[in-house]
């Protein structure tokens, strides 16, 4: 009776820890593979689906192996977990060096999903089956599944604790929990000690391994031969990495997608921040996004007060360390920083702004897309003064089509009476300034821009309509762009032989 009771409690503990591991492994796999494959929403969905496919395999095979085989497979899988994150990153590097296309990377993703998810998924059905042979399975399901769910919740908390830190903080905790599971499943002190020993050795080197394997990915898969990863953390929203090349140029990568580099930053800041701020001389300027904070010193001399709103504290961390020197911000007494969602900030503030600068990533995910929509611009308009201006970078050059720049401009034109677009060859993108009544004219704009770049084209509010004939405004009911553009990029990257 006592033995049975102990066995029961051991099962509960086991399922709890399995739940913790499922939660952590889901986070690690999705973050790392999204970064390897580059993080458009299409990729995020694909990797998430791969993880669930791995779990399905676990459920399917849960009862098909003998206890002995199951234990051996589990042990193998647990030791493979000790090769995270370098094994799959180096495999991706190797595949890139062989110019492997989509099938190879999909195989890698789904193959690792088996290691990440299937072994953990198999525990619950196996234990329910073992305990209820011949009897009612419901009481066992209730107890065992409850412990797994509790574990999953606990894992969620551990993951939250690891946010804005590097992977070398989370993985040792994960391995420690796995070591306990190894002991509970096999009851072999030898294997457990071996596991803990290897885990400890790896933990000591983990920070280096993490940065080194990421560096190799950037050198090979991103084809930046002299890349060196200086910074890598998982924020609550994405993997934030700073990469430096041999010229010392730094780039910010979010989920493996280049957000900006220090060279582009100069041009981008000029058009999105300096030009409108110098023309408007706003009393209140709102910067949405701009996690590097590099626009702040640009608009500050022209503004009465500058408000920065950035969603991701991880990006701010990278910005302060690598892109904007602390001393350039320390004396700015009329500057306030808020860590918040731009949409939420606008909905809850009672302030009115003369200039809103949208320095956010291209609409490649639903979340980013929602900040380029008609609905968002309507909200921004409600928080702008009568001659308030919103400045938006269009993620490409405006052409007469239905691509991103045209859809974003169409959304602006749907909400504001006047939209003027600056098409910069130097920046390789266009910038829009929209307002109900622009407080500057085309000549003012020309003189502010031409000294910086002579080849720039200004598309006046009167001519904008002709560019938007084929464009459907981006809106919450029309986010097809997020899917279409993500899918095209994914196919181009992995399935285009040219």
């Amino acid at each position: 009776m006592i033995l049975e009771d102990q066995h029961e409690k051991k099962s509960w503990g086991l399922l709890f820890l399995v739940g913790v591991c499922l939660s952590i492994s889901q986070f690690v796999m999705i973050r790392d593979f999204v970064t390897i494959l580059y993080g458009e929403e299409v990729v995020i969905i694909l990797v998430t689906a791969a993880f669930f496919a791995g779990m399905s395999m676990g459920y399917l095979l849960a009862l098909r192996f003998s206890r002995r085989i199951f234990e051996l497979l589990f042990l193998g899988s647990a030791f493979l977990h000790l090769t995270f994150p370098f094994s799959y990153r180096y495999l991706a590097v190797w595949m890139s060096s062989l110019d492997q296309g989509g099938p190879g990377f999909l195989a890698l993703t789904f193959g690792y999903a088996l290691i990440f998810g299937s072994m953990f998924a198999a525990f619950l059905p196996r234990l329910i089956h073992e305990k209820s042979s011949g009897s009612d399975p419901v009481p066992h399901l209730r107890k065992l599944y409850s412990f797994e769910l509790l574990g999953f919740l606990a894992g969620f908390l551990i993951v939250a604790w690891s946010w804005n830190r590097s992977l070398d903080v989370l993985l040792p905790v994960y391995w420690l929990i796995l070591a306990v599971i190894v002991q509970l499943v096999l009851g072999s002190k030898g294997w457990t000690c071996a596991y803990i020993g290897i885990a400890c050795l790896l933990s000591l080197q983990l920070k280096e391994i993490d940065l080194q394997s990421s560096t190799r990915l950037y050198q090979t898969k991103h084809r930046i031969k002299t890349a060196s990863v200086l910074f890598s953390i998982n924020s609550p929203y994405q993997k934030v990495e700073v990469v430096e090349d041999e010229q010392g140029e730094r780039s910010l990568y979010l989920d493996g997608l280049q957000n900006l580099n220090s060279g582009d930053l100069e041009i981008l800041n000029h058009y999105i921040a300096t030009v409108p701020a110098s023309l408007i001389q706003p009393s209140r300027t709102l910067l949405i996004g701009n996690g590097t904070l590099s626009s702040v010193p640009r608009v500050y001399p022209f503004s009465g007060h500058v408000y920065s709103v950035e969603l991701d504290a991880g990006v701010l961390q990278a910005g302060k360390r690598f892109f904007t020197r602390e001393e350039t911000l320390s004396d700015l007494t009329h500057w306030s920083l808020f860590v918040d969602d731009g949409k939420h900030f606008l909905q809850t503030t009672s302030d009115r702004f003369d200039l809103i600068i949208m320095d956010i990533p291209s609409p490649l995910t639903i979340q980013e897309g929602s900040l380029h929509t008609v609905e968002f611009y309507q909200l921004a308009r409600e928080r702008m003064g009568p001659e308030g201006v919103i400045a938006v970078q269009l993620s490409g050059r405006l052409r007469r089509n239905n691509r991103t720049p045209a859809q974003v401009t169409a959304a602006l034109a749907r909400v504001f009476r006047e939209v003027v677009v600056v098409d910069s060859r130097k920046a390789d993108r266009s910038f829009a300034y929209a307002s109900d009544h622009l407080p500057f004219n085309i000549h003012d704009l020309e003189s502010a821009i031409k000294s910086y770049e002579s080849s720039v084209e200004i598309i006046s509010p009167e001519k904008i309509g002709s560019y938007l004939e084929k464009a459907k405004p981006l809106s919450l009911d029309n986010l097809d762009l997020v899917f279409r553009r993500g899918w095209e990029r994914f196919l181009d990257r992995y399935f285009d032989d040219d």
Partner: protein, 171 residues
């Protein structure tokens, strides 16, 4: 008979994925995209699932009906009073109530399946497909998708649910 049960489990997984992602998007587009929104919805859903494992009287279709009612209540709440003091709390409660069926579903079905693994397998496959369908549906149809899809899918499941009760006794 097993095919019918497998299909029902698969469709339930798909329904639960649509509801869970629906909750997240509803809150993200109406209230905030901060991580707190996501954490609150997922944690409440998990707590609801846990409670659903233990609550009785949900199996006769009540759990399914409650999941729909609470989804649409939250929909109304976040679109009408997005910044009410208790909106986020009530939304989390709504996600928890919807999660009840995510847990209770397994209690309802486990006695009808010969293999426990198959039950989880089919439900999980449905959830997997639901992730794709939600993404495609929302990016193509926008808010119409999150208004109509859960209701239509839930109603169809409810019919299937009574059919299962009538024709598939617990083994």
């Amino acid at each position: 008979m097993m095919i019918k049960l497998s299909v029902y489990s698969f469709l339930t997984g798909l329904y639960l994925a649509v509801l869970q992602f629906g909750f997240v998007i509803l809150l993200q587009i109406n209230i905030s995209s901060t991580y707190l929104t996501y954490v609150l919805i997922v944690a409440s859903w998990l707590v609801g699932s846990l409670a659903g494992l233990w609550l009785k009287r949900l199996e006769g279709g009540l759990g399914l009906v409650l999941s729909l009612l609470s989804y649409y209540s939250v929909y109304g709440l976040v679109t009408q009073w997005p910044f009410g003091q208790v909106t986020l709390f009530l939304s989390a409660l709504g996600a928890g109530i919807t999660g009840l069926w995510a847990g209770n579903f397994f209690v309802f079905m486990i006695g009808r399946f010969k293999s426990v693994g198959s039950l989880f397998f089919h439900e999980n496959n449905g959830f997997l497909l639901g992730i794709f369908i939600f993404f495609l549906g929302f990016t193509q149809l926008g808010r119409d998708f999150i208004i109509w899809m859960p209701g239509l899918w839930g109603s169809m499941l409810l019919i299937l649910h009574y059919w299962i009760i009538r024709s598939s006794p617990v083994v």
